[in-house]
């Protein structure tokens, strides 16, 4: 039975197309059931994230199964300006294994090395595994494929630096905040102005546990809206200095043409008593914070340029890890494929052993019928002897057939075995 993956990703389709193909977790079971009902489909699992929608299949009949998978995906998208087929890619056999392993490792992600994909694949696998249907959506082949994929994803992240360091400006701000304050729980933050990037950064910090949020903006309506969304407090822009002493993190994102936070203002807040560090994130262009603020003893000032430099350096470091990560993926894919190919020898081996045992039993019965004088114990000894002989005789061929299958040259060798031992494992079945 062949493997196949049918799908589309950020590499083949723009976001407005990808969102049409996306499956809500509640829609995935029905899609899988309808696919599993189709002839030619043995096992199936669906991965749907904002960057990809993919159906992983273990098929009874390759072309038929792939066609059904395309239909399921196309029906999810509905009417499109171009045929759905234009956005699809199809991979088969070992390429499926390599593809999934690369996906889980973050090598095929829009942001190289991103970690969320590991959890998304795990969720997709669990959802397919727990699907109730006439037959399981995930059988031996996909089960092992996904388990190995999740394992290699973890290994790549543990043994390379592909997931290390922040890969976006907001996540760089979060990473820095974590290195200053440890946990952000109980920390207080203030955002000055309410630009889009400031809002995004704030959202990331709030997700990390930032509490007691103050939004100060000239546009009080917008400040109130943002404060409400983040469960914070909106204050008029002119009052921000009154609250400065109470915050640990200050994000500035105003559209002012000159610095609005000065060295003198910040120094005043730190004069009365030594305070915990102040992390200032200046995302505005032109800058909102005087550069001299960074010279104050317990102040960490980062501008948008600083954060972008961090992101660039991190992405470069991640890119440098690609060869090692690809090597690990390739190694794991080869291991998996050896195991999978080895399975192709199983029906021949099973039939060979059955046939040999049938012959042994027949010959044993015939011989023992002439040896009535033997005790039960002697008969048992002879039975054991023939079984042992058979085991020893078949050990070599069994081992070599498995090895040949694992090495990918199973076709000729298995045919030879069928011919030499006169076994036919394909009666009434498809080729494995």
């Amino acid at each position: 039975m062949p493997f196949a993956v049918v799908g589309l990703s950020h590499r083949t389709a723009p976001v407005e197309v990808r969102e049409r193909f996306a499956f809500h977790p509640s829609e995935a079971p029905d899609a899988l059931r309808s696919l599993l009902d189709k002839p030619g489909v043995g096992e199936a699992a669906l991965i749907s994230t904002c960057n990809r929608t993919e159906l992983y299949l273990h098929l009874l009949e390759a072309e038929q199964g792939v066609a059904h998978a395309k239909q399921v995906l196309a029906s999810q998208a509905g009417e499109l300006s171009e045929p759905a087929e234009h956005f699809f890619y199809v991979r088969r056999e070992k390429d499926v294994v390599r593809h999934l392993f690369r996906v889980v490792s973050g090598l095929d992600s829009m942001v190289l090395g991103e970690v969320q994909i590991q959890g998304q694949v795990r969720d997709a696998y669990e959802a397919a595994r727990s699907l109730t249907h006439t037959h399981p959506a995930v059988g031996a082949a996909l089960n092992r494929l996904f388990q190995k994929a999740l394992a290699i994803g973890s290994r790549v992240r543990a043994e390379t630096r592909i997931a290390e360091g922040a890969a976006s400006v907001p996540s760089a701000a979060v990473e820095l905040a974590r290195k200053i304050f440890g946990s952000l729980r109980g920390r207080r933050g203030m955002v000055l102005g309410a630009g889009e990037m400031g809002e995004l950064t704030l959202q990331c910090l709030v997700n990390e546990g930032l509490e007691s949020l103050i939004v100060a903006s000239r546009d009080l309506t917008r400040a109130r809206k943002l404060a409400e969304d983040m469960r914070g407090l909106a204050v008029p822009y002119r009052e921000f200095l009154d609250h400065l002493q109470d915050v640990d993190i200050l994000i500035t994102s105003t559209g002012a043409p000159h610095p609005v936070v000065t060295h003198a203002q910040i120094r005043r807040t730190m004069v009365d008593e030594p305070r915990s560090p102040l992390f200032v994130i200046d995302i505005a262009v032109p800058r909102d914070v005087e550069p001299a603020v960074g010279d104050l003893p317990n102040v960490f000032l980062y501008s948008i340029d600083d954060l972008e430099h961090i992101v660039t350096a991190n992405l470069e470091r991640r890119r440098a890890e690609i060869p090692r990560a690809e090597e690990l993926v390739e190694e794991a894919a080869a291991d998996f494929w050896r195991w999978y190919s080895g399975l192709r020898a199983v029906p021949v081996l099973k039939r060979l052993r059955e046939r040999a045992d049938e012959l042994r039993r027949a010959e044993l019965e015939r011989t023992l019928s002439h040896l009535d004088h033997l005790s039960a114990e002697d008969r048992e000894q002879i039975d054991r002897l023939t079984r042992s002989l058979l085991q020893k005789l078949l050990h070599g061929p069994t081992k070599r057939l498995k090895e040949a299958a694992e090495d990918g040259c199973e076709h000729d060798v298995l045919e030879a075995a069928r011919f030499l031992f006169d076994v036919d494992d394909r009666k009434g079945k498809g080729e494995p």
């Binding site: 543990a158 630096r161 290195k179 440890g182 030594p274 560090p277 003893p297 317990n298 600083d306």
Partner: protein, 271 residues
């Protein structure tokens, strides 16, 4: 047998130190688990060495320079192992694991054997005095290691050099809290140790001989530790300043120790 066990423990601590270095250099990102396992194994083996020593000499390894250093190494290794359970602070082992190696190897060179048979240096009072003092010193070593890492991490963040130190070292807040907690624990244990020692010594010498390097150094260490703790807890200094004082104080006491050792060349005792 206790020497063989100590050598094995030293080997395990060395392997753990190499693991920390590889982890730090990101040459082996997966080295963290192995490092923790090696350190724990080292502690278990050195624990066995202590038991063997006790069985053989009928006293804990607290009297004599070699045994004292070995015990101090064990306490520091124990602290590293304990910190290994807190993923946010385990990187402090990068400094502490090699310290344990140096102490244990020094102890082995000096020989891990009892100092002598004077009854003065036996009994539970002495065991309490030495054990508590060593716990105090261990607390201070941990505090100084955390403080020095704080200063390096502070520098990385302040000057935006976000390299290996930034990635590997814990957060400033974590290092600050660890340093504070270790200082408090260390000071409490050392104070108690000194009180027990003083109460025990007064039976033999009614008045303290301040010219005795042991007493002068011990008093200096206690005073500097008190000062470092006061600076940390008073709220008059920033965490960075407190860390600076902590490291400088520790350095001063360390230098004073070597001076005291030169003045009192007798090597049988910890001082």
């Amino acid at each position: 047998m206790h020497v063989v066990a100590s050598a094995l423990a030293a080997l395990l601590y060395t392997a753990a130190s190499v693991g920390y270095a590889l982890w730090f250099a990101r040459a082996r990102p997966g080295a963290a688990t192995l490092t923790a396992a090696l350190m724990s194994a080292g502690v278990l083996v050195q624990g066995a060495a202590v038991a063997l020593y006790w069985t053989r000499f009928h006293e804990p390894p607290l009297v004599g320079f070699g045994p004292s250093l070995a015990t101090l190494a064990l306490l520091i290794a124990l602290a590293v192992t304990g910190l290994g359970f807190f993923s946010t602070a385990r990187a402090v082992g990068l400094i502490l694991a090699p310290v344990a190696v140096v102490l244990l190897l020094s102890a082995m060179v000096i020989r891990i054997e009892p100092a002598g048979s004077e009854p003065l240096f036996r009994g539970p009072w002495l065991a309490f005095h030495v054990s508590l003092s060593f716990i105090g010193y261990t607390g201070w070593v941990v505090a100084a290691a955390a403080a020095s890492m704080y200063l390096l991490q502070f520098r990385e963040l302040k000057y935006k050099r976000l390299g290996a130190v930034f990635q590997f070292f814990p957060a400033l807040e974590t290092l600050d809290k660890l340093s504070e907690w270790s200082l408090v624990t260390g000071f409490a244990a050392l104070t108690l140790g000194i009180l027990v020692g003083a109460a025990w010594a007064v039976r033999f010498e009614p008045s303290l001989n301040w010219a005795d390097p042991k007493i002068a150094w011990g008093t200096l260490a206690w005073v500097v530790l008190l000062l470092a703790l006061w600076l940390r807890l008073s709220g008059r200094r920033t965490s960075r300043e407190a860390a600076l004082w902590n490291v400088a104080g520790f350095g001063l006491v360390l230098v004073a120790y070597f001076v005291a050792k030169l003045m009192a060349p007798e090597t049988r005792f910890f001082l």
